[in-house]
């Protein structure tokens, strides 16, 4: 794992998977929601972002968008789009993964994090 002159941290997937990521900050979008209404039965639209970092140096930074999906069975926190980060995953040969392929893999990595479990409390605490 090393910080390259272009500002990207280059590492293999195995190196990333062996790195612990911790929650940094999360927020709710202020502009995405439709005008607030008190009408009974109106569905609430909630979306936002979440940011995670590593404790090691150089610091890995990865963030992604989410929205709250409501269904009869309850609510689900769903990732929206691909993550944004300072990471470029490399093959064993040392070559970069493609730009889009890198983001796709990072998406699968963040999906395995326990963000859906902690975000309800984090968001509630920030906007309480």
């Amino acid at each position: 794992m090393h910080l390259s002159p272009d500002g990207l941290i280059r590492l293999t997937l195995d190196q990333l998977l062996s790195t612990s990521l911790e929650h940094l900050v999360s927020g709710v979008d202020q502009d995405a929601s439709p005008p607030f209404t008190n009408a009974c039965g109106t569905q609430t639209v909630l979306s936002g972002y979440t940011e995670w970092i590593s404790a090691n140096d150089p610091t890995i930074s990865i963030g992604w968008d989410w929205h709250l999906q409501t269904a009869v069975t309850g609510v689900r926190w769903v990732r929206v789009g691909l993550p944004r980060s300072n990471l470029m995953l490399t093959h064993d040969t040392g070559h970069d993964t493609s730009w889009h392929g890198n983001l796709e893999i990072l998406g699968t990595v963040v999906d395995a994090l326990a963000w859906r479990e902690i975000l309800p409390d984090v968001v509630a605490a920030r906007y309480a």
Binding site: L8, V25, Q30, D31, E51, P58, G63, R84, S85, W99
Partner: protein
């Protein structure tokens, strides 16, 4: 939209005054930034003889967008004022890395209630693309910027190849980050589609 570029020596005094007035209107009057200004004109220590400006005018010759380009081989905003956003990494110092700052594409004639609506305009993508091309002519391969975190999302949506240089930092309660944008980026959507990003940098 008509876009002109150049240093203060290349641009007329009327254009430079228009840029300073527009920046005051956007950053001080609208966004409430605490900047030292005189006579409703916004300049700072990075507005120098070698600073390159990108200025967009509408058909009535009113300023509708501005950007400021600085080489990282001389003092620039991220390196001098916000180095903490790099989390200990050295600020870039290279002829092929330029800084984009004071980027604004606000149409004051547009009606809108939210900050996002105010700063999302057809001007933004064109101005950023023109800024990237202008910087490339000066030898840049990428931009660095100081931006609100939401800009990263909008750059992605608009098809610009950008990545963060370090984790975001909370400043006055809002996440801010250092961003890198490739000058080789191609806008991957039709400008006539009508969906444009907020692309506002410090």
């Amino acid at each position: 939209m008509n876009i002109v570029t150049g240093t203060p020596a290349d641009l007329s005094s009327e254009i430079m005054a228009g840029v300073a007035r527009y920046r005051h209107r956007v950053f001080v009057e609208k966004l409430g930034w605490q900047l030292r200004c005189e006579n409703a004109l916004e300049y700072d220590q990075f507005d120098r003889d070698d600073t390159v400006y990108v200025v967009a005018h509408n058909a009535d010759e009113e300023v509708v967008g501005t950007a400021r380009l600085l080489p990282t081989t001389r003092p620039y905003l991220l390196g001098e004022v916000f180095p903490q956003l790099l989390h200990g990494a050295p600020p870039p110092h290279s002829p092929d890395v330029w800084e984009l700052s004071r980027f604004a594409a606000v149409d004051f004639r547009a009606q809108g209630t939210s900050a996002l609506a105010q700063f999302s305009s057809p001007i933004a993508v064109g101005l950023l693309q023109a800024s990237l091309e202008c910087a490339a002519r000066h030898g840049a391969k990428r931009f660095i910027t100081v931006s609100p975190l939401g800009v990263e999302r909008l750059l992605r949506i608009a098809g610009f190849r950008a990545h963060r240089l370090a984790p975001p930092t909370l400043m006055d309660g809002s996440p801010v980050f250092a961003c890198s944008i490739s000058c080789e980026t191609q806008v991957a959507f039709d400008l006539a589609d009508g969906v444009y990003p907020l692309a506002l940098q410090a």
